[in-house]
């Protein structure tokens, strides 16, 4: 029994890491350039876009789940893709939750730089690739804060994951949805075990990221 449960916990944990990791990577790949662009460029409609991002940072995950579910539902606009109740649907929902966090925190970090910081780098005549490198180095504290916030949001999210993933055994069951299920079934021992794993994951990952973030402050 104990062996079976351990194997189950490992399986659920690995799936959680895969789904959340994919969502985090896509969120960062899209959110970092978008946040940097929003922080550096001034164009018509920028304020509206920033306002949308800020609203998104506080959007309830369960509402995000509902919107994604309506889009992916069999009769929804993207129903033909047959993504509902699949890990991909969960990744999509988690991206929608994490993306505003990444964009918002990144653009705040870029916006905190002096107005002529970029001009000062330009006058050194550096190639664009190195200018981008200097910028990322300069805002690294903000970037890591964005990663930590996005990871926390994704790992702890349960409402949207349940709604678009349905907690299917062996397919879309992740740590958060499994905990909800086991509590519902009265199996507190298993729920506590999964919760301990989830907390451990959070502590280890945020600890590593925080160590990286603070290493440059010596």
């Amino acid at each position: 029994m104990a062996t079976l449960e351990t194997a189950l916990i490992v399986e659920i944990t690995l799936r959680t890491l895969a789904i959340c990791g994919a969502a985090l990577l896509v969120s960062l790949a899209l959110g970092l350039p978008l946040g940097i662009a929003l922080g550096r460029r001034h164009f018509g409609g920028r304020v509206a876009l920033v306002s949308l991002v800020n609203s998104g940072m506080g959007a309830p995950p369960v509402v995000v789940g509902l919107v994604v579910a309506l889009l992916l539902w069999r009769h929804g606009p993207l129903g033909v893709l047959h993504l509902m109740y699949t890990p991909v649907a969960m990744v999509v929902a988690q991206i929608v939750i994490a993306l505003p966090l990444v964009v918002g925190i990144t653009l705040a970090a870029v916006g905190a730089l002096d107005e002529d910081w970029e001009l000062q780098v330009r006058t050194l005549g550096l190639p664009p690739r190195w200018r981008r490198g200097l910028l990322l180095c300069e805002i690294r504290l903000g970037l890591l804060a964005a990663v930590i916030a996005a990871m926390g949001g994704i790992l702890s999210e349960v409402g949207a994951a349940l709604m678009v993933g349905a907690n299917l055994e062996g397919e879309t069951r992740v740590l958060t949805t499994a905990i909800v299920m086991y509590v519902g079934m009265g199996e507190y021992e298993m729920a506590i075990g999964l919760a301990a794993v989830l907390m451990g994951l959070m502590l280890v990952l945020t600890g590593v990221l925080t160590a990286v973030q603070q290493s440059g402050r010596r």
Binding site: D114, D116, W117, L119, T123, L124, L126, P127, R140, G216
Partner: protein, 360 residues
Amino acid sequence: MSGAALLSARELRVERRSRRGSFTLQIDALDLRAGEVLAILGPNGAGKSTLLRALAGLEHPARGAIDSAAAGPITLVFQRPAAFAGSVAHNVAAALLGRGLERAQLERRVREALERFEIASLAPRRAHTLSGGELRRLALARAFVLAPAVLLLDEPFDDLDASGQASLSLDLRRAIGDTGVAVAMVTHDLRRALLLADRIAVLLEGRLAQIDRRDSVLEKPRTPEIARVVGMSNLVRGVVVAAPDGGRRVEVDAHHAIPVRTALETGCGVWAGIRPEHLKIDVGRGGSGIAIGKAVVRSVVDDGVAASVALAWAGEELHTHLLAGRGLARSLEPGALVVLAVQPEHVHLIPVAEAPRAAG
């Protein structure tokens, strides 16, 4: 010392709009020549920094262009230099990123640049922890490590105390002399500008009012406004009249006149300009010049190095400088009556009708 033009602005027009209003910089012709230091002077809001940014290629001119014949980099050190993340050494090395230098070569150049501005001991320190003066030295090291052909400096001595300004200006002069870099420098510090500059350009309200050799601008400003910018603060309006000795003098009123050497016709309305260092308090030992009458001491401001004395003369306030802490400076009190004197050749006349225009 100076040669062919490295940067040339022709028919340049830069327009800037902000919440505080609009501003236009208009330069008909301006050259920065190889090996020279050009000091750009002017009151606040005259467009000095805008001109510097235009020369650095950071402004988009509405008209005209900046032509460059510089064989090396053109770099600008900002009024408030940025400290990049990482150490002081990393900050200087950042300027050389992506240029294909070998590690040993890069380290040597960084070390030399740090030593040039006497911050080698700060190399491992985080740049964000530097003081204002140290950061300014870091910015200069970061600029010089590039071996620039043209260096543009925006208020390089801003926010530094007197000793910091003095030591940095000496290091900067040595660095400029060693490298032969052409420099355009915006500053409101006339003394530092004079220490470094070969030529002076005066900007007024977005226009180039005068550009010429340093001494020409200092001694022969074209307008009263330019005179004030270059430190000729004693300006008195009068009329050229014949003196009893057959020479000329500027009559300020019925009781006050200043002896001058001029070819201007009598009856010509002029501004008589006298630099403070050329206006003397006559203590009867001779050598001060020709007496121009009595004045009342209004104030004596002693900064420990020089004493600036304000005097009431012919209804005007004039200023002279004395060595601080020495005889006369210690004995002068507000209200004291003194005799002023000036050498006629130290009085610069600006005809009242002359319109300001640039000269080359």
